[in-house]
Subunit: 211 residues, 3 copies
């Protein structure tokens, strides 16, 4: 990269990065939900999620490199870093859950895991909405803030669902190894919704500061 | 908020936020300790902790909004963000532990969990002391640094207690599901003491830089 | 510290701190590998790792104090903070794994845990290489970036090893308590390799920005 290129303000690229990242999160979350709803052909479905995750890694890595070399950024460098990282985390965790579904010799899907994946999909769609709004945050901050609020509400739902699911697992007199496996998978999906809430909090801060 | 309000320096409000947050941590930690000491009327006691946690969320959310809109802050914006987040985490984790105590069909309290909650209460009281000192940090930095040091010592105690408790749980030939439940609850309280140590580290940095 | 000392640029000290930290990580990771390869004389070997970890804590604590009091730093203060924290985390986690090996009444070492510790040692050596390069990053950025890339590759290996190990543990019809113990130990070592990857990412960013 020449000095001239470094100096050229192409700060809009970051908005494209956020949007590309958010699109992969929606895609990955939907694939995870489908896997849980129809638990057949599991290795192929897991690989499809892994492919989306690799695509997302490339987007994130390119954006980080640009963040470190570009002089002009649309808002605070630390906030962009946080936003890229947290969006990336959401998909990483969804993929980690899918991998375990593929590896842990699972006979039967825990029905509550499907509900949890559905919450993650709903949250990912709201994330996409919020992220798309960033480009024009001065014109319409209200829509972004509304989407962030709904991401928070969905995280609370995921949290509640996780706890009641674990309570049920403990009560059913389940086989302990089955409980350990599902606890890990459920925790991964729930942590994905936590990271999505972090995304909402970062976006909310950016909007409050700049819009 | 008008531009004039934005420009008005009301940076002292952040000290009030930290103090209000710390007070809720003390309150929540004490309620968790009481729940573990007298494990009756559990749903009501869990709800009381949840209520404190909601109050804390409101304080934190308001402070974040102010952080993004106010021009003058008493110290580095990133440090204030970190401090608000980490104090908030402590209570969130104490509440998460309480929730599981309410949901997981627990017959008998693990005695070591009480000791761990007692360490958390001691740490919360030191946190309150440290946070109250911030307002006058130039006058008396020594008291703050001493409180931070004691928070670190208490975290080490919690860490040690957690590991020996887990070792005991594994040895007693306990029912695996009981072990999984208590491992989660113990880990949550121990992570609360970790976040309190993070609070101490942030405060120590602020004092070294500004006092 | 006098105002004059505060003003004196001794920014090179941070490079010495990173190098001293990285050396303790190599030392600790090697001791963990040795413990897993020859599981005798366990309390003494665990104590040796704990001693290294205490030495590392002193280095980190001194560096943090300097970071808050020194005016001139070789690169962005937030990046130095992140780098010191993440390197410190790697050894903390290796030590946490060792402690559990000492406490959990373990008869027989899981062979895969040795492979995982070997990956951590390889990563620690690459970390040392990358960190040593920072002092002259303008002269030879390529070597640093290469080491960072290999740290990422090693983290992927650790990740894959962890998942297949857990799958095996679940399949072997193992005793649930044994599974819980090894899951925790394996997760701790794997998280150590995650933090090492974070170190690589921070270093990569610093090099892209400054070299």
């Amino acid at each position: 990269m020449t000095m001239l290129e470094k100096l050229m303000p192409k700060s809009d690229d970051f908005f494209s990065d956020f949007e590309a990242q958010a699109a992969t999160v929606v895609e990955g979350a939907k694939l995870l939900k489908l896997l849980l709803e129809d638990f057949t052909d599991v290795p192929r479905k897991c690989q499809a999620i892994k492919d989306v995750e690799h695509k997302a890694d490339d987007i994130t890595h390119r954006a980080f490199a640009r963040l470190h070399t570009q002089f002009i950024t649309p808002f605070d460098r630390a906030e962009i870093h946080r936003l890229l990282s947290r969006i990336d985390d959401v998909l990483d965790l969804a993929d980690a859950a899918a991998e375990r579904l593929g590896l842990y010799d699972i006979d039967q899907v825990l029905p509550e895991a499907r509900d949890l994946a559905a919450v993650l999909v709903a949250q990912a769609l709201k994330m996409e909405e919020a992220v798309k709004g960033l480009r024009n945050m001065k014109r319409d901050p209200g829509t972004i803030l509304e989407a962030c609020k709904e991401m928070n509400v969905l995280e609370n739902q995921a949290d509640h669902l996780t706890r009641t699911t674990m309570a049920k697992l403990f009560k059913r007199g389940n086989d302990p190894l089955t409980v350990i496996k599902w606890k890990e998978i459920i925790d991964l999906i729930e942590t994905a919704t936590d990271r999505a809430e972090d995304v909402a909090n970062v976006i909310e801060g950016v909007v409050l500061e700049h819009a």
